[in-house]
Chain length 346, copies 4
């Protein structure tokens, strides 16, 4: 159950509602928005009685019964897709948004060339890691704050928004200072301390699915972020780990329409990590558009053969531009399927 | 190494070549086509010396070195996609071919209604199981020959070609008598006795990927069929088994472009078994077109709620027609990417 | 529900019972043993009414309600472990039975040396493949009937019983002629035509778990064999396919006690395929004894470095003997946990 | 390559060696022990030349060439098992060490009863979570510092050492203040920021394998901790995620002997998470002893039916005591296989 309070409800009115809910055995989890407080009701209690009682309270706008274990991120809570504005672009709306750039920020020249190239080809966000989660302690761990500064420089030069990874709750404020979108890597999808810290960071989140995480666990991790105060979460399918080794991971593409049935959060496809193989990226990107993702995040490097990490799955600038051109007619078809387009046509 | 003999080479000429190859330590595996014999050379030996020696023989047309463990099905052996003609339709060519119909043949009325519906919506082959591989010995095992006869009746009435499963080498001739395409189910992908028996059946094969089979194993199983004399094999991605349970299987969609890089055999997507969920089928079908599959096989039932098996993943006739209409613009884009179209444009 | 008829019930008495059961909407699946007919009742109907009605019939000995989808193999149907006598040895009883031998029968010398070695070290059955399921059509496919004859020769010389694989329903009679136990390989676990053919073969079956088969599917496949008339089935855990590649498969060892809770059939562990690595076999064998398997099947080759198949996971004769000696104290502890031992102690 | 400096080498001597190594193109990673500095050499360079040059330096005790990507944790670096002393108990030596206790610390009464019970039955460490990683933000998140204080109280009362989870680098000092061993949960196995923070915490680490992590990735994560200064790491197999759902996870028991071949770090088995099912725990625990684990970590709760988390997999105190008694003869056999025992016998 989720209770939406009337706008500008007072503290006392809110407390009355939460006290009432607790009488039925429940716990509450409130999110205080600018205009409205929303109260998540969780736990075990007498649903029907509680619902009837709360609905009758004058300060309550609406009560929504939610059967899924995730509340705020469920389609039951909100039918229309969440739209997230980033630097003039809207994710989850009528625009198919492409994020692109190198795995790691390696140097000023590299990131600026990458940024210019992907901007020219039509990307709206620049990706690039400054903090890198690497399997080996001996591998390049990222340029850290210096890398963030280079991303900011690239933003100034190209107008691209920045999406970059944060690996620790300690670094959330630092990364949020430089980035437009904070990315949570697959290996941190269930780093719950980090997820909680994102609740107050003031930036949209790109939450990547864990290597062996189910769709439901992905939604529960998103719920952590939203329940701690940040409703702007994008989910990212980036391949899961299976027995098949011909690709780096196995792209669970059907998870995209499955998520679209379960949640209102935008869903982004990462065809680069999903395949690990440059030559497969454009075909998978087309499939991502066709199946109804809200956008892509693609690894692009000005010189993939020299990349410190993930060179094999990075497109060069020419390949990326070619892919973006090939995607155009698919994006046109995609637009026709958006609820907004459908609404306008009726 | 694969040796293509000149057309109409004599038995003696062929024997001379195979004898020569064996001198270098190899074994041979010949396929006798109508016009030409092709000799697969397998095993361990002195590649360079053998190749040079055989190339110089007058009765030899061409020698192709093949590094993959699968020979006849590899892209190294043949660059252009294999085109398979079935009842006036060509799979692997310029047509995106849809096969549709119920999981099982259940009754005359059911299969005829299904056939008419899917034909009207644009399918070219009718699917329907007469021999059913069921996890439980107590579940419906199929109508067997009676079901095959009903399929034949449906073919007469609608002009659709028939694709249906064969589960045992004993039944290959029987099923080949009634069907245009023989389907090998996922659980039989490594039933090697059955695969060998398909070599001489005179029908194209639809080979489904095993639940936990790799792309390479799928190709090796196809190689069994081709090496035993039947070059007309279509591969089918139908989802693999992973930890994720929100869908019945996990569609390894990136396997389709990966296969297109490795083999010349056509690749079909089965969005029904891949998801197990009716509502996800149309979106996955779109992705299949966009990613470059050669066709689809889709479960359609006139009354899915009454289906004996796989009702949850079957479209009804109206849903199938709607899906086929939605696919049309994607199929138009698909045609532009076919080598034939590209060739014509140059 | 499973109905045990009284001993020597007449055909008419049996028919009266099955007719009565069908009146309640059920289907029946009868197994005719030498002394007694057992009737499996499957499908959907009015359980309570049917049970009461049948229990009252004079020719009925007992009725057991079974909730699992597998009936005859379930612990609900029979509490005590099924004991299978093979050539003087009893599997499922108070003896921990080891089967050992090479992957493939390669030559008379090889199989005789292997047989003598494993017999001396304490094995009771000789394994060795004459029909080999190989991923590649170009790999050694087995010596077929010639191999079976060599196995028979080895049996005469050593007294070992023979367990060997059958790959097709066509070969069941042939293999049953030579072998004491018929092995169904992992890739054929859901070859339902083959499973049905085993029902009348007159030999115990060793049914290996499929690479991606669940414990429940393994039990359903065993149910196929039993429901078609053959109650002597042993199950074999041989590793499943996962993302981990450091071992050839992942041994799901906890499936052994899980099976012991669900079924009365004996459970055998194959530590060779489960690991694919010789050095890990003895440790895993110890674990198999400790966890309560009923026996082991182990790959042993007189000269593993020369083996045509599976050399890397085969022990040589010395290593096998050493392992058997190390297992002895574990087998002593194992005996103390057998219900028979426990019963004797009380 | 790993360079062991002579005891009490001076800063200048160490610098001379690292400078020399860097001349060959390598990077260094030093660990400063109390008596001796050990220098890990990583990266790409001229191995042979570097090795010869460094071996000749007088301040160098020994140089070990290591081909594995993990250096300090590899068996190539150290042959004998690392022994870790905790509160008078030695893990990795001649004692089979059992850690036991509830999933979460829930109350003073609960943890004290658990501690007394497991101590009495022979456990040497008490487990119990104060910081809990939970899939849902609405589930109990642990008692945090209050829980740590209760663990300390239990330690005082029973003499048991404490092992408890730390979820964030922020909390390492806090948890290290109360605990004897810091546990890293499966979901944090690749939380690299946390792993680095453990390097200086002054406590042994129990590192659990991630749900979809390979054995090699587990070793690389251990290498993070050791390379950052903490050589006292225990590895824990707790089941991996596969398609099988009859158990909560799939115990990859063969990973234990595989790890014993690759690393000198002690390996602990968690039969509770590996199965998720109380009734399977004792059998799997026996297998763990037999296969050569160095210890167990087992969930035990005084009243499992009332447990806030993981009740289904928790033994009650009587069951735990029974299991410990049953393990005794297996532990006796285990002792005979320890290198120390073997050495003493020679």
């Amino acid at each position: 159950m989720v209770i939406s309070m009337k706008r500008h409800a007072t503290r006392q009115e809110i407390d009355e509602v939460t006290d009432q809910v607790k009488r039925f055995g429940y716990k509450v989890h409130s999110i205080e928005g600018e205009e409205r407080v929303v109260i998540g009701v969780v736990g075990v209690g007498d649903v029907t009685a509680c619902l009837e009682s709360v609905e009758a309270m004058p300060q309550v706008e609406a009560v929504t019964r939610i059967t899924a274990p995730y509340k705020f991120v469920s389609k039951e809570f909100r039918k229309e897709k969440t739209r997230i504005r980033v630097n003039g672009t809207e994710i989850g709306g009528n625009e198919f948004v492409v994020m692109a750039g190198p795995c790691s920020v390696e140097s000023e020249e590299q990131i600026l060339r990458a940024a210019e190239g992907v901007a020219k080809a039509g990307a709206k966000l620049l990706r690039g890691g400054a903090f890198k989660p690497r399997t080996s302690p001996y591998d390049f761990q990222g340029m850290e704050e210096e890398g963030l500064k280079l991303l900011q420089k690239a933003k100034k030069q190209t107008g691209l928004a920045i999406v970059t990874e944060v690996m620790s709750d300690r670094d959330v404020d630092l990364v949020a200072h430089y980035a437009d979108v904070l990315q949570i890597g697959a290996r941190n999808m269930q780093n719950f301390v980090l997820l909680k810290a994102l609740g107050k960071c003031g930036r949209p989140i790109l939450l990547k699915r864990g290597l062996s995480s189910t769709v439901k666990e992905l939604l529960m991790s998103a719920e952590y972020i939203v329940a701690h105060g940040n409703p702007e979460v994008m989910l990212c399918e980036r391949g899961i780990r299976t027995f098949e080794t011909i690709t780096r991971n196995t792209c669970d593409i059907a998870a995209i329409p499955a998520l679209n049935e379960l949640t209102h959060l935008p869903v982004i496809l990462d065809p680069s990590h999903a395949t690990g193989k440059r030559s497969l990226v454009p075909a998978l990107a087309r499939a991502g558009v066709a199946i109804g993702a809200d956008g892509l995040i693609v690894e692009v490097h000005p010189a993939p053969e020299k990349a410190i990490s993930d060179g094999a799955q990075s497109l060069d600038l020419g390949q990326f531009e070619k892919m973006m051109n090939e995607l155009k007619p698919y994006v046109e078809l995609w637009k026709d399927t958006r609820p907004q387009a459908v609404a306008a046509a009726n």
